[in-house]
């Protein structure tokens, strides 16, 4: 073997050894980072949890099913309204405080009607049907045709306001107007509120 070939061969081995040594070092370093207690629990509880969810859900869910994984309840409410309302009908969006005070179950604590936040409701509904907020002028509120009424026994009920007399409809609207429209983003704030509830007349 020529002298230059020998040198080339040696430097090739040295270079390969260097790469393998660095690879070993890298794997040891990364292994140490992985087994740090907080890091390993992050992998096990969160990232691996997502991998398991993905495996469970598979690849066959269509767009509606995927949407309903997050917004099943909201989609059900909107589908119900969409099915009963005519193009000229108007839905009166009930105040969140009214729903929480009259129909919220703290055990198990669920979403405290956050779909009643007008911008969120608008996002979910878009152009499917018209709705009006409780803070709108009376001239608009009297045109409302549907709303949800709530009580502890029967829970939420979708009602057609045109089934009521003008005086009854006005009384319903006036009652809803006494509640603050929105204020709870998470269950705990609704639970805390119900513990120390003091219903006061609300004015914008």
């Amino acid at each position: 073997m020529k002298r230059t070939d020998l040198f080339q061969q040696m430097s090739k081995y040295a270079s390969l050894s260097k790469v393998l040594l660095l690879l070993t070092l890298n794997l040891i370093g990364i292994g140490i980072i992985f087994i740090l207690p907080k890091n390993i629990s992050f992998i096990k509880l969160k990232v691996q949890g997502f991998y398991n969810t993905k495996l469970r859900l598979g690849n066959d869910l269509d767009s509606t099913a995927r949407y309903n994984l997050v917004y099943a309840k909201e989609a059900a409410i909107i589908d119900l309204l969409d099915s009963v309302m005519q193009p000229d009908d108007i839905f009166l969006l009930p105040p969140q405080y009214y729903l929480v005070e009259n129909a919220y179950k703290t055990s198990p604590a669920t979403d405290p009607y956050t779909w009643t936040y007008p911008s969120k409701f608008k996002n979910l509904v878009m152009n499917k049907f018209n709705f009006v907020e409780i803070t709108a002028p009376d001239s608009l509120l009297t045109k409302a045709t549907h709303t949800f009424l709530a009580d502890k026994k029967r829970g939420l009920r979708l009602v057609n306001l045109n089934d009521y007399s003008a005086t009854q409809k006005e009384a319903i609207i006036n009652h809803l107007k006494t509640y603050k429209p929105f204020g709870f983003f998470i269950p705990q704030t609704a639970i805390d509120y119900l513990k120390h509830k003091t219903h006061k007349q609300w004015k914008q």
């Binding site: 794997l27 907080k38 997050v70 907020e133």
Partner: protein, 447 residues
């Protein structure tokens, strides 16, 4: 269609980078091209609106294609430069670097899946950017009924619909292109950012150290969540980081390249286009312009960010569409200032060192920062430290003086910016540069 969009973003960015002659490792070049392309493409719906053209699949796709064709012509014109970028020497990855890319793939896979699979969840996004994006998609105009009718009457009204428009415009583009939930662009940004970050730090220190630092970055639970939850903060931190990294190259170079300066300014503009308060951090980045003709350079640098800031917040909102809430009210309340300032300082530190949010990572970056500053007290190290500290101080002032800004939300997510900068500080520190040299010497000696 999403794949076509990604290719168009890369071509768009590559054209501009080839004009500016920005040299990076091939993967970093492609990542930077994508991020630059996505920033530039975000203006498409906005420009269509100004030209009174309906925003729909045809107009968006055609505009993106035109933009990409214009950039492709630039690429052809600068083909010699691009051939150098594509050369084997500029695209080498060594075997021992592979583990980091495998880790990135492990984390990214979930991020991409969640972006593709689930609808948007964050409340701020639902009632702000996504609401506007959906309405724009259905009505084919940014002057839609949400701005003109709904927001002017609704209660309670928050400022999310008036956020800086980047994520809203990206949602518009991807909805127009047929993406079901839109947000897959976020995963693209995160992947491009990690690759860019890796190769940017590899320019200064040994790849082994870069891989370990960025592995720590993946292990931040709070940060990881926002790789699949669409919010303004992560894209904003990405753009801002690139602005800072380009500015650092500009500063370090004996013959400063104007291209680095303008690229930095452009990315700072994108950051202001993503979150409005970014404009307040402008003085921090300008600290590196301490050489000659500071005022002219500072003014030149500020032009793009200021145009985008004013263009959206004071011309489009207000003149072209009605604005129902003012842009963050400033409060000049100086009562109990020191006590409130102290509370803010303590509150921000609690977030910064909370391992439930960041695991060990920020503590590690902070330790490197302390050791480095105690060993190497050079001007450059102090200036870099002033970036991290300057951002923190300005955040505290924002919390103290802007209505609605708070520590649990505004600072916690805004802290992403500081994390990236502190990691950049660690990765470019003299301490790790010397460690890299030592490592290289030790291995050569051993073999």
């Amino acid at each position: 269609m999403e794949a076509i969009a990604i290719i168009l973003h890369i071509v768009t960015g590559a054209g501009v980078l080839s004009i500016l002659r920005i040299r990076r490792h091939l993967i970093a070049f492609l990542s930077l091209s994508f991020l630059l392309g996505i920033g530039l493409t975000s203006f498409v719906p906005f420009l269509l609106e100004l030209a009174h053209i309906n925003i729909n699949k045809v107009s968006v796709l055609l505009s993106m294609a035109l933009l990409a064709i214009a950039s492709a012509i630039c690429c052809i014109y600068n083909r010699r430069f691009l051939i150098q970028i594509l050369s084997i020497n500029n695209s080498k990855i060594r075997l021992y670097e592979i583990p980091f890319f495998l880790i990135t793939a492990y984390f990214m896979y979930i991020s991409i899946w969640k972006c593709y699979f689930y609808p948007n969840i964050p409340f701020d996004t639902l009632v702000g950017p996504e609401l506007i994006a959906k309405a724009t998609f259905f009505e084919q105009t940014l002057r839609n009924t949400i701005y003109t009718d709904f927001l002017t009457h609704t209660y309670p009204l928050s400022n999310q619909p008036y956020y800086a428009p980047f994520i809203m415009l990206m949602q518009v583009i991807f909805l127009c292109l047929g993406s079901l939930f839109g947000k897959i662009w976020l995963s693209g940004m995160v992947l491009a950012f990690f690759l860019y970050f890796y190769f940017e730090l590899r320019y200064y220190i040994h790849p082994l150290l870069v891989g370990w630092l960025l592995t720590f970055l993946w292990f931040m639970p709070e940060l990881y969540s926002y790789t699949y939850l669409v919010q303004t903060d992560y894209p904003n931190a990405i753009f801002l980081f690139i602005a800072f990294s380009c500015m650092y190259r500009y500063y370090l170079n004996d013959n400063p390249k104007k291209a680095d300066f303008w690229l930095s300014s452009l990315f700072f503009g994108f950051a202001s286009w993503t979150r409005t308060e970014t404009i307040l951090f402008l003085p921090v980045i300008l600290l590196f312009l301490t050489k000659q003709r500071f005022i002219i350079k500072a003014l030149s640098y500020s032009i793009i960010p200021l145009i985008l800031f004013i263009g959206w917040n004071y011309i489009f909102l207000g003149f072209i569409i009605p604005k129902a809430v003012p842009l963050g009210t400033i409060n000049f309340d100086f009562s109990d200032y020191f006590s409130r300032g102290w509370t803010t300082l303590v509150g921000t530190h609690k977030i910064m060192f909370d391992i439930a949010y960041w695991n060990y990572s920020f503590i590690l970056f902070f330790i490197i920062l302390l050791v480095n500053i105690s060993l190497y007290r050079t001007k450059t190290e102090f200036l870099k430290l002033s970036w991290v500290m300057g951002m923190h101080i300005i955040f505290m002032l924002i919390v103290l003086h802007i209505e609605g800004a708070n520590i649990p939300f505004t600072f916690r997510r805004g802290f992403f910016k500081i994390i990236f900068l502190s990691l950049f500080y660690a990765g470019t520190s003299q301490l790790l540069i010397n460690c890299s040299k030592w490592l290289e010497r030790a291995i050569t000696k051993y073999l």
